[in-house]
Symmetry: C2
């Protein structure tokens, strides 16, 4: 067997590392005036407004390298930030990427991570324009800031939902959470029986949902092409309930959503049953689906109803009516945020 | 003695924490269209270009909480990013601040940190417009992205220095490194003799340099008022030698700097002698001074010479002449980057 190549980061130093990781970084956007290699990047949005969002991804908290390929992690770190830009109805344009790595990481590992970062940059048409690299005492630390652009005052916040607006969600929900359960189960089995091979069956959809989620730039483009400006929008990172409550709180309204309307992939439903979990609970409280949840005026219903990737799951009500889920049996329950809490 | 108040972060949860820490956050700039509380912030630079820079600050790598007051740390996290914006001759306008904290931190500790963050925001006239909060398995993780604005194409990179340009530096150098040595010495003594009180003597300047550095927004304003556009600029974070080499490499030129011209504070010189260190080496290789290093056309000399906070330390030469330091004795030595390396 060939010897595995391993280059220690200490050998090439911080500036060597930056040069190495950015050597093939080409910027493609006219808005990127100055990119990696100076004290800051310079961006010209030519009269548009700039949208900025930032996320921290920490090993052991947000990801487990036991079963997360570094290339997917690089892609995901970009995608989840692009998703925040989408949730403003803005167009992603640039990102900065900072990483802290402990001595256990070799240059080759970082290169794999950056392969995923660049793949995502190409995929979403964004330029990587800056960042910071540092050693860390423990584990892998990722901080991404995404920048986007929007026609002045045509961005969409969480606070504009109006009574009778329809509540729409893209794609399907609960899959990422179930993919995580599957990976955690196989990790546990592997730790107890290291000779056994992981059994993922045909669960490709849910594994993809957790390891390589997509930001819904396609939905934003479709809404724009369809001349639909949502009244409120958020991306589903902490679970549907939590995000619905954010919109209702910030828009000072209530909502009703219907269990039978909530989109759940067949594979997610099957996996939930295999794990003895309720698929609905996974959809309501499982995080990391990165679908778009938004509200539209009733007059836009005709446009939305034929888009198979969008589902109308309910409508906005007066604040006094609270946030309700109506079950298939017709009972109304109060929606509660049981989403992932960062400090538990 | 009153019981020390301690609120566990798990008690209030992530969204409670964000609400708490941003409850007094007021934005002051017309460019800040939408701030904390949505998926992203929105910024309108009204025809200016946007400048973006980002930094990661990690406990145990970049700071030691044994002797770093959290309030100063919050101030410094903002200041070092504002310094990058200054180094582009741009005006800082917004920041995003992400923190990862382990269970050892109480809400009160984070509040102290944010007191420093808000103090720096007020001081530099920037709005805090977003961020992310997360638990971390170990230690305190800080990631800041600073955004600034500049009149289109009037930013200054590291790559524009021309032969015969004068090399200028603001303030004095080596102080932060010596302050760090002093704090490390007192930490060691304290660990061995916990009853002894730290002996900082009258070394206020160097301790301030390391714990609460200032971004030189005043120098940027003065240059602008004086109608001086530097040909190249960088901030001194890794030591003078390292930064000079960056400018020379990126501008494809050489340089000569003179030992006798390099500005060293009397207190820094005294501390260096006390520690048996060479003050010049501290100035050349000690990091974290956050002064501005820039090159100007000879024709601007008359304007610069009367600014007591600026020192002309040498000039730019042809690339073939290399990067040289001329000692007081008249000997020329090659400049080497011995700055802080993030991976050693």
């Amino acid at each position: 067997m060939p010897e595995r190549i391993r280059t220690e980061l200490a050998e090439i130093g911080e500036f060597g590392l930056i040069d190495y990781l950015t050597k093939n970084n080409e910027t493609t956007l006219a808005t990127t005036v100055l990119s990696v290699g100076d004290d800051a990047a310079v961006i010209d949005h030519f009269g548009k407004q700039t949208v900025v969002s930032t996320d921290l991804l920490l090993e052991g908290i947000h990801f487990d390298l036991t079963y997360t390929p570094l290339k997917y992690l690089g892609f995901k770190a970009v995608a989840v930030n692009v998703s925040d830009i989408c949730a403003m109805m803005a167009e992603p344009s640039q990102i900065t990427m900072s990483v802290g790595v402990s001595a256990k990481f070799a240059l080759e590992a970082l290169e794999e991570f950056y392969d995923g970062v660049y793949e995502a940059c190409n995929h979403y048409g964004v330029d990587l324009v800056g960042g910071d690299t540092s050693s860390s005492l423990t584990g892998f630390i990722i901080s991404v800031t995404a920048i986007g652009e929007v026609v002045p005052d045509r961005f969409v916040t969480r606070s504009g939902a109006k009574v009778n607006d329809l509540i729409c969600v893209s794609g399907d929900l609960g899959g990422a959470y179930l993919g995580l359960q599957l990976l955690e189960r196989e990790k546990k089995i592997f730790q107890e029986h290291p000779t056994l091979k992981p059994q993922f069956g045909e669960r490709r959809h849910i594994i993809r949902r957790i390891l390589k989620p997509e930001a819904r730039v396609d939905i934003v483009a479709w809404l724009r092409d369809s001349v639909i400006l949502p009244t409120a929008m958020i991306d589903v990172s902490d679970g549907l309930s939590s995000e619905l409550l954010h919109i209702c709180k910030q828009s000072a309204c209530g909502c009703v959503v219907y269990e039978e309307k909530i989109p759940i992939h067949q594979e997610s439903a099957d996996a939930a049953h295999e794990f003895g979990l309720d698929p609905l609970t996974c959809a309501l409280s499982g995080g990391e689906d990165y679908e778009l949840l938004f509200t539209i005026a009733q007059s836009d219903y005709e446009k939305v109803k034929n888009n198979l990737d969008l589902t109308v799951i309910g409508h906005i009500t007066e604040a006094e009516e609270g946030c309700k889920l109506v079950t298939k049996a017709g009972n109304a329950h109060e929606l509660k945020a049981q989403g992932w809490s960062a400090f538990r």
